[in-house]
Symmetry: C2
């Protein structure tokens, strides 16, 4: 006696099945009633569109109809009929309604009115039931699937790199410690230090900030691999762009140089956007309207110049600008905001680290396109990036997106043992601890490259959501590990 004999609403909207007797199940979004009839808008999460259930009070009892309030879960049997009303082609004339779960209108927080995103963040366990968040999470799913499909179709292999790691060589930021010791009362060595030999891994361990180094090990065996997993930063950043726990995609490819790397990254980003345009049309239309509505309250000059879908098409259809860091510094030094001292950090000379304001200027004002910035000064980049012939720069690449800033960071990796060791020593990276990483240069080394895409930033870009906490189901930020 299986229970699940329903037809999904998505499938009913694609194949109307006029005249058929079907069962649908879902949650009530709204109910409108008059003496002769009730219209119930039912949503099952499979698609943003609600399905209209028509209930005749001569068929469905008043007691049942009363319970069909917003948020209640229903099982409805009935016949599909062509709709007389506007707004839908067909509707379900109910022969029976079973209330699977009620939702007391006095207590249910999601009433059919506009709720602020801040309020919805407090009830992240329920916000998935709203139009906005169900759309965001369907798009997020589609993008995640597109990531796997893109790489699988290209012959890349998905590698699960470790989440718990004893190496923190990348120095990408503050890490979370992982332990089974009693915090505050750990075992001690004779000299009073914490005795990590008695910890689970018999040493200090933390949560990974990147799977790149392990990804390189796999790429130097399987040629082309990618990771897609959670990464962590214990930074006290309360911004709309930072999470303590976020998902990252890190392809790593043997036999790729910096140009191959940029080509792949640009192709990949465009593929993801096109996939969403093709597979999430209805959700994107809804999100575009939402964004337009949200921006109405902003001053005209802060509103987006393009609608969401137009912007996505623009990025998918146009070449990204590719310039070097050195060229970018020239542009910025001669820019209006620099000359008029409008930048918080003025660009005075080559070597300056680029801030968010500079990246946004390049992308949003100067080029009005995504920008691939390459060949940064080695001093502001990580030890593993390949040193260029000029002795000053490395084969790094950042991809900057309008409204988002850095969405991808990558580089060709230093494959030359001597150069790599020299740079590690200059930067105080312990070469002994990293014996396994150096082994890949010691044995069968080869030019290789890779990059990291912050998945949530990509979801933000595609959905138009302004706050990164609104594109992951249960965000982790300072002071926040609820649910």
């Amino acid at each position: 006696m299986a229970f699940n004999n329903r037809v999904k609403i998505k499938s009913l909207l694609e194949q109307p099945l006029i005249g058929a007797e079907v069962t649908i199940m879902g949650w009530v979004r709204t109910k409108r009633s008059n003496k002769n009839v009730s219209f119930i808008a039912l949503n099952d999460g499979s698609i943003i569109t609600n399905y209209q259930v028509v209930a005749d009070p001569n068929v469905i009892s008043e007691e049942i109809l009363k319970k069909c309030s917003t948020g209640a879960c229903l099982k409805v049997n009935g016949t599909i009929v062509e709709s007389q009303g506007a707004g839908q082609a067909a509707e379900l004339h109910a022969s029976s309604i079973e209330v699977l779960g009620e939702a007391d209108p006095e207590k249910y927080p999601l009433q059919p009115k506009k709720h602020s995103l801040e309020f919805l963040r407090e009830i992240a366990h329920l916000r998935i039931r709203t139009n906005t968040f169900s759309a965001v999470f369907r798009v997020r799913h589609a993008l995640a699937y597109a990531v796997h499909k893109y790489f699988n179709d290209k012959g890349f292999f998905y590698i699960h790199t470790p989440i718990i790691t004893a190496s923190d060589a990348e120095g990408a930021g503050e890490t979370f410690k992982v332990t089974t010791l009693e915090i505050g009362n750990p075992p001690r060595t004779e000299d009073g230090a914490v005795d990590f030999k008695q910890d689970f891994f018999e040493r200090e361990a933390n949560l990974t900030v990147s799977g790149q180094l392990e990804g390189e090990l796999a790429a130097l065996a399987l040629s082309e691999i990618y990771t897609f997993g959670p990464t962590f930063r214990a930074e006290n950043s309360n911004t709309t762009r930072h999470l303590a726990e976020f998902w990252m995609i890190e392809p790593e490819m043997a036999f790729y140089d910096a140009e191959d790397n940029a080509d792949l990254a640009e192709d990949f980003l465009k593929y993801l956007i096109r996939y969403a345009l093709e597979n999430c049309e209805d959700d994107l239309k809804f999100l575009e309207a939402r964004l337009l509505d949200e921006e109405k309250s902003k001053p005209a000059d802060q509103r987006s110049e393009m609608g969401l879908i137009e912007k996505l098409k623009f990025v998918a259809d146009n070449d990204f600008v590719r310039i070097t860091y050195t060229e970018a510094i020239d542009i910025l030094r001669n820019s209006k905001p620099n000359k008029k001292k409008k930048f918080q950090y003025l660009i005075e000379s080559w070597g300056a680290d680029l801030q968010s304001e500079h990246e946004r200027y390049l992308v949003e004002k100067h080029f009005k396109k995504p920008v691939i910035l390459t060949d940064y000064p080695k001093e502001i980049k990580a030890f593993y990036m390949r040193q260029n012939e000029d002795g000053k720069t490395v084969a790094a690449m950042d991809i900057l997106f309008p409204g988002i800033g850095e969405i991808i960071g990558g580089s060709q990796r230093e494959e030359r043992m001597d150069k790599l060791v020299q740079r590690m020593e200059e930067m105080d990276i312990p070469t002994e601890e990293m014996w396994w990483f150096l082994d890949t240069r010691r044995f069968g080394s080869t030019p290789h490259a890779g990059f990291g895409l912050g998945f949530e930033r990509m979801v933000q870009f595609v959905t138009g959501m302004g706050n990164i906490r609104d594109v992951i189901a249960f965000p982790r930020t300072p002071g926040n590990a609820e649910f």
Copy 2:
């Protein structure tokens, strides 16, 4: 000047391109030389098969050829020619060879001889370059992709549930603590306790043991979801079946009862196996031969009755056995090993927890098929499982596989608020902390179900690898967080 102009070996084997001039890149597996010619077997990780490079000493210098030792990375230009020798249809006659990276034969650990799996575990960063491990990780990739494809095609949405969590209500085992406090010297409250208000999340936090509870929140909005992410157990288990960090797939479905749940799980497992059979034929053939070879050293009665591929086909093509716990107890009580007291834990009465030896007896001796065991005593199962009418059992389901044991655990969930709260109170689960979980029963509750598949156990089953540490790239176990 992009570097990556190679043809992948996999593609060359599918489309031989006789007469074409191509570039291939990869790592030397073996080299055989005589005065007139050298044969180099090159592997690029795209496929298990090596490609034969033929080097004429009149064309390629002795100095270069000397460097083409096992493990070295080469870029070879040449012409594809039909092969005269046995073993391959075509081969590459080299016009030039560039040694991208040498591998000193005196130091490179992976020489062309048989290495033990134990030894290779010590050099996990290099073992991916062996036939066995490259095959395992290609199959692992294929299975991961199949997971996403299966659910995407069915309209399920992929949800990333949190890795760091403050809730430990599932009680699925020991957890790892996550903190930014100084472990030996944390801030204290006035009464001397550790002041977790000053920790990153302002409370105690740990690594997730399961995404199920959060998955339920999403299923009760989007109908059908799945997770696929890392989960953690801080158990001091040094076995061939346990990891401290492993990946789990957890689908969760609104409108499914226990039978729908079992139907989905069986269909899903068979899909994964069929996908591997269709997409990994050459790797599976290699792994089958490897297993056969490994089992030669075992006594005849401990060898597998079927070859690897035959076993996979058998599981994919036959119905799983479905029996209740109560029926299983009857079978076990009357079994030979129970009567002859061969079981370590004798089955005496209803209510006993099943041990690995009992599961293996049912699957491997009695039924010789995968078994779906249902309706366990509520005392030995988790609080969230749906209580059956008998008042004694819950709608739990475990799926047992030959050689693996439990590969899936799942249940219909208790959707009735009163029954759920009552069970939580009986089991001392804090209902106040779990307000968000209970909200799903308070508002728009519905029958729903789900299960968890341990991904590494599935990879073990499909690849025939005996030790779970050999199916994940960088295993985390007690005392081991290397790489």
